[in-house]
Assembly symmetry: C2
Homo-oligomer: 736 residues x 2
């Protein structure tokens, strides 16, 4: 702990949380507008908090069971005694990030709508500041948890060998990543089902059948829809990105501890590098957030430019400062590691641009889907699925090129057979991890520009329900669509970092095997006699040899089949859950229109509560099976097929899941914007047959892009995290 | 060539072709019915042949280019001089199988319709016999090509070392598998795009907008639709199964040559086993076909039973006789190998049952999709995608269990570390191959029960257009739906064998690396000094070690990403092709209804030719890119990432492609039957809003189940075949 640079991590954490509080207070100081606006905001707030409470109750039960399991495993000697506690804090902080984000968002919507009554710019200021709260809370809490655990474990872990100690500390800290992932998966799946059931139900009856606008107060599902935006797009996203951010830092720290175990002083530097880069990135994010300023009469284009300026400033500064950090730390091959960070940032940026190309109405792919609306819903769906599948080529190739460059540069550009020397592989894998950290280092500001979208969306809902003038709705829509463009970049970073982090976690898994073997003297002796060297000097490649993790091992290949299947089954379960809940919602809204007199005339208030109840029930029932499957699959695989099967499962799940996630996100995004393009007047505009067909596409795309797709990113990492935590057991026993 | 049992292979081939001719003559002896029926059949026949000719022209160009490439590679010493010629014959025979199948089908449709005027049973006899022609032509031609090449290469290959000679013969024969796969991919993709463009276009305007029945002669796309059934479902399927059948036999023979290279007499037996089992299975198929007899007044249920009896008889007999064959051949571990065959058959049967469960209207999943039609097209699509994704769990788990059992039984039930002994792995992989051969051994009859479906479908079209009474249409529909049930079994076998064959091909790839190294003295020396043993004594595992084909190699992992992406991009391209051509078709049909007076009144004949032209153009333009991509990807991967990248590509493509194929086939099948279920009267029946929604689902499902899904099975194998043929180049040079 001699390196003072570490203290920048808790400092950045405190700073981030302080500014989050500052922005929160500034937002709260704004007026919530008219009495109706306040009433509606209160409705949504209460509904959202009620749901979140319900969800946390269920998650708490799951956490209690898993914690007990870990405690038993620690008792039996398969794990160290810190695991269960680290797991709990990860889940707790992830939940907290979601909770604060949602609290802010539900307070901000009416305030944003009210500010938008004055000007677009005023609306942006409120929405963006609230988004900044979310961004800073996520990174602040993650850095806080990381710093605390790093300090605590440094003090309490009893281990004379420094190299071992750091390995134990970093792998134990990974467990808190598993807690975060588990909580995030529940939040994304539960929130995603909730919001899309309401959204689909509201749209199908309201927009398509009854022909009333979105968020019309006569639609019984409106409140549920707005609650859904908060629990899904805000709380779900917060938990999700908390997981990504913490996961990438923790995985890289663990890889650093493993890669440089031979040299204790370098090892500590390699562990600290991801943390300090993230900490500096956080400070730069705060600077970037303050740089987002516009003139009072700014146009939409100028607003977009202002947002871009903030992000670009932070990104350029992190490129420069990470070179400084690496040199100050004194990492070996500093420029190689620095280039890995740059490749990571470039990869994320490129994927964002590609996402924008494939999902923005300004480009041919989405226009083509809109064209297909002229021939009905079937061709819209076919075109969307076709385009979405095709679009996977670009992010995948970008990730492949980015990863290989990050690997090679961090490994010092090895060639030929040299590329596979164990120490080359270790430092290359560290490069992949650090690229992910680089990509996410400025999450504070990218998340701010991402999170204000749903806030603006909700503000629009509030404006509609409060019968504010159409110009207010127009302004909130403009903010929302502004958010969509910057959100594409955010999505690129989220997807790209998920792939890189999952690759890094794979290497951490192998490291965890080593620790597992250390606990089992008999197995360790077997291992050492097989390889003819000591466990401590065993390289990643030695583990591959001992456990036969090659592509000629049927257990690896069949594990890959199951991993690939897991991604599809997981999506199938979540799609079906949305479908089921949405169908109940449709029936309920139809029933209310039929049975409650005077809704359409605006004389009677519809029964909002029954729709909220349908979404809540749908989400709670359906989130258990997919989430538990994600936890159970790697455990079961380890018990039956052993280490090689687990690695097959993880890689198969990663390869298929990543591509499937991109497909679903892009198809969903493109359908959404094709519909918006038609609503803006193309192909006959609102109410035309083409519009009706496009709404069908958008509806199908809703669970694609907001439930199944984003959950996949978490699934991939959670399966790795579970395998890591369970490695001790897998090493000890498996059927085949 | 001393083992006389080999001669059963050419004998079975001749027998199959003889009976194919016999059934063809019997079918041709039937009457084609009224003048109108003849005229319409002639229309469809001419259209289908015209398209096939066009397609073969394009394929011929591709083959010319590839053959030239192989000739150059042989000249440069990367391949032996037989490769290009074997490649050509594979393509030629595959095309021939499709051509004969289609010729039969186009002659049979009017005859089936005419026979159905008398009774259901009479219709079945004609349709089933025509299906039998297809089944027997496919297996007969495959066995012919295999016998000829085996004899020719045995005579001409100059190699003193018998073990080497057999390895060279079997791997050279694999090249003819590549020819078959290439042709099959073009046939499936081109035919699939053709038929679904016509089908989707005809349905969307005819059924949904104009409200006229399927195959109504007033619909301008009707002829194109019926032509499409022939070029897609018949010629495409014929080429496809020719490829599967030949591929599984050839891959297993190559594995046998590799696994038992140490003992020349066992080696020959292991090579002959798959061929003789397939030959005996063919003879049993002929017996099974004759066993399909019914009373003149048989009910639909009795007909189904009769078909089942034929298949079951052949299957039970092959289980018994394969035990005899294996013992007569004198293979080591005979009962273990026999059990692998039984596991293969059981796996195929189980997947068939699972397919039926998930796609038949008799079971909850499809009923549930139909229920979702009450809430519109969006929920139908969501439910279909969700259910389709979910359904992948069962075939994947079945394949995993079946494969591991086939592996373990053929390897003599090894345990623990023993499971990875090189000779254990080799014989286990041979077991996987032989399981695939067992699964496909009775293809003669399973294909017969599969192929008569489209014939009955076309007969229905002919009946409709010839204004025969509704009872005829009802009978052909009954035959078609009868076919759907047996086709589920056929699909199970096709999907299951594709996965197993692809796994076997993976091992053949490694064997081909050995042959490639033999040609490069310098590389061979490097290899031998690295491993400290001679190339000839190197095991599969040694290759894994030398080329670092482990899951810690980034080239393997990134190769997997690209493989997984390939499956999605391929589907995206084919989906888009169908979407584009279908949209043109919709516009054209709408135009004709609008501009040509008197179509609706039946006074003017629509312009069928322009619709045929749209489908032809759509198919021809769009089939090039996906097909060439499948060939180019493994070559490019080899040049950039080398052997480890190629193996990553193949396994990633296999794991994701297999699951994606099951998803698409099941979702498409379930949508189809959900629509049929509603048409049979549920949820308001034909013309209800639920029906309209279900038609949208069916339309989206059309390219899923008949274009993209089935092409994926070929894609997976073609990529492996290309890698095998190009292995010499990959071994010689790669960038990283």
């Amino acid at each position: 702990m001699s390196i003072p640079l570490f203290w920048i991590v808790p400092a950045a954490s405190v700073l981030a949380l302080f500014f989050a509080f500052f922005f929160f207070r500034k937002m709260m100081a704004e007026s919530e507008g008219t009495e109706t606006m306040k009433k509606i905001a209160q409705h949504v707030r209460t509904g959202a908090m009620a749901y979140l409470k319900q969800q946390y109750k269920i998650v708490a039960i799951v956490f209690a069971v898993l914690t007990a399991l870990f405690a038993i495993m620690a008792y039996l000697g398969f794990q160290n005694g810190w695991v269960w506690f680290a797991f709990l804090t990860g889940g707790f902080f992830s939940a907290l990030a979601g909770f604060f984000g949602m609290k802010t968002a539900t307070h901000a919507s009416a305030r944003t709508a009210n500010a938008a009554r004055n000007s677009l710019n005023a609306g942006l200021q409120v929405a963006f500041r609230s988004g900044a709260v979310m961004g800073l809370v996520v990174v602040g809490l993650a850095l806080l948890d990381i710093s605390l655990w790093f300090i605590v474990l440094n003090v309490f872990v009893n281990e004379a060998n420094t190299a071992h100690k750091l390995a134990m500390i970093t792998t134990t800290m990974l467990t808190f990543g598993m807690g975060a992932s588990t909580q995030a998966l529940f939040a994304r799946v539960g929130g995603g089902i909730y919001t899309k059931a309401a959204d689909v139900g509201a749209d199908l009856v309201g927009k398509v059948e009854a022909g009333i606008p979105e968020d019309d107060p006569r639609n019984p599902a409106t409140i549920a829809d707005n609650v859904g935006d908060n629990v899904g797009d805000v709380a779900g996203m917060g938990a999700d990105l908390y997981e990504s951010y913490a996961g990438s830092i923790l995985a890289t720290a663990a890889l650093g501890a493993a890669a440089f175990a031979a040299n204790t002083s370098v090892q500590l530097k390699a562990v600290l590098a991801p943390m300090t880069i993230a900490a500096v990135g956080t400070i730069l994010s705060i600077i970037g957030i303050f740089a987002v300023r516009t003139k009072e009469d700014a146009s939409q284009k100028q607003l977009l430019k202002a947002l871009g300026r903030g992000i670009n400033l932070s990104s350029i500064l992190i490129v420069i400062l990470s070179a400084v950090i690496i040199h100050v730390l004194g990492l070996p091959n500093p420029w190689g590691v620095w280039m890995a960070i740059v490749f990571g940032l470039l990869t994320g940026w490129l994927i964002g641009k590609e996402t924008e190309y494939f999902t923005s109405e300004a480009y041919p792919p989405t226009r083509n889907i809109a064209d297909n609306a002229n021939t009905g819903p079937a061709t819209v769906i076919i075109a969307g699925i076709g385009t979405g599948m095709l679009s996977t080529a670009f992010p995948v190739l970008t990730i492949v090129v980015g990863t290989i460059l990050a690997f090679l540069s961090a490994a010092g550009w090895p060639v030929g057979q040299e590329l596979m020397r164990p120490e080359v592989v270790s430092s290359g894998l560290y490069g992949i991890g650090i690229a992910a950290v680089g990509m996410l280092s400025t999450l504070g500001i990218t998340l701010a520009t991402d999170a204000y979208g749903p806030i603006a969306d909700n503000a629009g809902g509030n404006a509609e329900m409060s019968h504010l003038g159409p110009e207010v709705r127009k302004r909130t829509d403009a903010l929302d669509s502004l958010g969509n463009t910057t959100a594409a970049t955010g999505k690129g970073f989220a997807i790209g970092s998920a792939a890189l982090t999952a690759l890094a976690l794979l290497a951490s898994y192998v490291e965890e095997l080593k620790i597992g073997l250390h606990r089992l003297p008999e197995k360790m002796a077997e291992f050492e006699s097989f390889l003819g060297k000591s466990l401590d000097s065993a390289t990643l490649m030695d583990f591959m040899e001992y456990y036969n993790v090659t592509l000629m091992n049927p257990k690896v290949l069949l594990g890959m089949f199951i991993g690939s299947m897991m991604a599809f089954v997981f999506c199938g379960l979540t799609m079906n859950a949305v479908g089921r809940a949405a169908a109940s919602m449709v029936e309920e809204v139809r029933r209310q229109f039929r049975e409650i007199k005077g809704i359409m005339e605006g004389e009677t208030e519809p029964d909002y509560a029954s729709c909220v109840a349908i979404s809540t029930r749908g989400a709670q029932r359906a989130m258990m099976v997919p989430s538990l499957l994600a936890i159970a699959a790697p455990i079961a695989m380890g018990l039956v097929f052993g280490v090689s099967g687990v690695m097959g499962l993880l890689t198969g799940g990663l390869a298929a899941g990543f591509v499937l996630a991109v497909f679903m996100a892009n198809a969903g995004g493109a359908w959404d914007n094709a519909k918006k393009y038609i609503e803006s007047g193309a192909h006959g505009g609102k109410g035309s047959p083409a519009h009706k067909a496009a709404v069908t596409g958008d509806t199908v795309g809703d669970p694609f892009k907001d439930t199944s797709g984003p959950s996949l990113n978490i699934l991939i990492k959670l399966m790795s995290m579970v395998s890591i935590v369970m490695a001790g057991l897998t090493v000890a026993w498996s059927l085949l």
